[in-house]
């Protein structure tokens, strides 16, 4: 389903308007967007911001778009502070992306919600060398 199918003023569980994000992402060009999730580029640090929800219905498509977006050199920074839900298929997609990075690159996750940190620990996905949880404060721009 395309982004044009969103109900007007759709408010995500995070409490912000997808409309606003949609307007921003349209100027910059979203890396990925569907009814439940928008992924936009951030400049400082260079990376991507996730807003909305990832589950089995969009994790494959998200992974495909994000993999292309982070294909350039450098360590990708992912701002997940506005990711209000992410299931195991979504975490699996992030893990596989990190494991697939070439040339010793590292994926840095910013603002990973506490509950997702717990899910990663319980499911044996903590401590991957190419996936680093960044606890620094401040949002990406």
């Amino acid at each position: 389903m395309g982004i044009g199918d969103r109900p007007a003023g759709y408010r995500s569980a995070g409490g912000f308007l997808i409309e606003d994000l949609f307007a921003t992402s349209q100027r910059e060009g979203p890396v990925y967007a569907d009814r439940h999730l928008v992924v936009t580029r951030t400049n400082n640090p260079p990376g991507l911001r996730f807003a909305g929800e990832i589950d089995i219905t969009n994790s494959d498509a998200v992974a495909q778009s994000v993999r292309q977006a982070i294909a350039d050199s450098g360590d990708p920074h992912l701002d997940l502070s506005r990711l209000s839900f992410c299931d195991i298929s979504g975490i699996r997609a992030l893990v596989e992306m990190a494991m697939g990075l070439d040339g010793g690159r590292t994926m840095l996750l910013h603002g990973l919600p506490k509950q997702l940190q717990e899910v990663m620990r319980v499911t044996g996905w903590s401590g991957l060398p190419s996936l680093v949880l960044c606890t620094c404060s401040g949002e990406a721009e």
């Binding site: 589950d55 089995i56 839900f85 699996r92 596989e96 899910v119 319980v122 499911t123 044996g124």
Partner: protein, 323 residues
């Protein structure tokens, strides 16, 4: 001891018989330099420490109330013990008492299933000896009979071992579990879910959990667990299923019904490996929820997830009502 896993019930009637059965078992293990892990209640651990004196130093203890609150977490704990302490096929001993008077009826059934699944998890593996005490003064005859079905051997308080003539065997222990679940009050309408409505289903779970008294964290955890089971329905259960929810005592119960079948009897308690593709949903559900009940029928699977509402939240409700 035998050259394979030995799963043995110990029937005891009082504290003296408990010690008469367990202490010689432990000290014989220590004498053979076998690692020994005792998973018992705090009271029984204190009792054993006193009886063992200095020898208690050589024994590992763990609180069954923590390890086995959800009985599906006990097999992974034994697997950790065997893999960490039993290198190169070293023999080990364990004592585990998962069933006591005070388990809820749902917990009891899942503990009994756990006792059978131990045979599946370890039956073909390295030799170690697990002794499971059963308090004959507190437990019903049916519970004791079921212990004879799930254990190959039974020991009395004089340390006499005999074969259980009604042991159901390793294969029988892993047979699809289709025992009917407890009847719950009618009233919860079924919510059909598929890939198109998964997000709305999550919203419905969050609303129900919150209105039933779960705090934000617990509600989110229940949403996560329900979503993983529903995802299994979507992938393996013809793409859809039905969800029902209840407030039951101090817990919320979410029941998911689909037409798929779990092939492995240990599917919900197999620790995920390093491969990202390994299944993790049921494992996660067992670590989030207070109890997970899985039933496999000829035409489908029913999963019940139990989540206790926050004790603090309940207190809060009481105090605000008093004001």
């Amino acid at each position: 001891m035998s050259e394979r896993f030995r799963h043995e019930a110990l029937f005891y009637g009082d504290r003296t018989e408990f010690l008469a059965g367990t202490v010689p078992f432990i000290t014989a293990g220590i004498a053979e330099r076998e690692p020994v892990l005792v998973v018992e209640s705090r009271q029984k651990i204190d009792l054993l420490r006193d009886a063992l004196g200095g020898q208690a130093e050589a024994v590992l203890f763990a609180d069954m109330a923590q390890v086995g609150a959800n009985p599906a977490r006990i097999i992974p704990a034994w697997q950790d013990f065997v893999s960490e302490r039993g290198a190169e096929g070293r023999r080990l001993r364990g004592i585990g008492e998962p069933i006591w008077n005070g388990r809820t009826p749902d917990e009891l059934v899942e503990c009994q299933r756990h006792e059978s699944l131990l045979n599946v998890a370890f039956g073909d593996g390295q030799p170690w000896w697990l002794l499971c005490p059963y308090d004959t003064s507190q437990l019903d005859d049916e519970v004791l009979h079921e212990a004879l079905r799930s254990h190959e051997y039974v020991m009395d308080a004089r340390s006499n071992s005999t074969d259980s003539t009604v042991f159901r065997g390793i294969e029988g222990s892993g047979a699809p579990f289709d025992r009917p679940m407890r009847d719950l009050a009618p009233g919860s309408r079924g919510i059909a879910y598929d890939s198109e409505t998964l997000l709305q289903m999550r919203r419905a779970v969050a609303r129900f959990a919150t209105s039933a008294g779960c705090g934000a964290d617990r509600a989110k955890q229940l949403v996560t667990a329900v979503n993983e089971v529903a995802t299994n329905s979507i992938i393996h259960g013809e793409g859809q299923g039905t969800l029902r929810m209840w407030r039951d005592g101090d817990a919320v119960i979410a029941e998911l019904h689909d037409t798929g079948r779990y092939r492995s009897p240990l599917a919900d308690r197999a620790r995920p490996g390093a491969s990202p593709g390994d299944p993790r949903g049921l494992w996660l559900a067992n670590h989030i929820c207070d109890l997970v009940q899985i039933r496999t029928f000829e035409h489908g699977t029913v999963v019940r997830l139990h989540m206790k509402v926050d004790p603090l939240h309940q207190l809060h409700v009481v105090s605000s009502a008093a004001n």
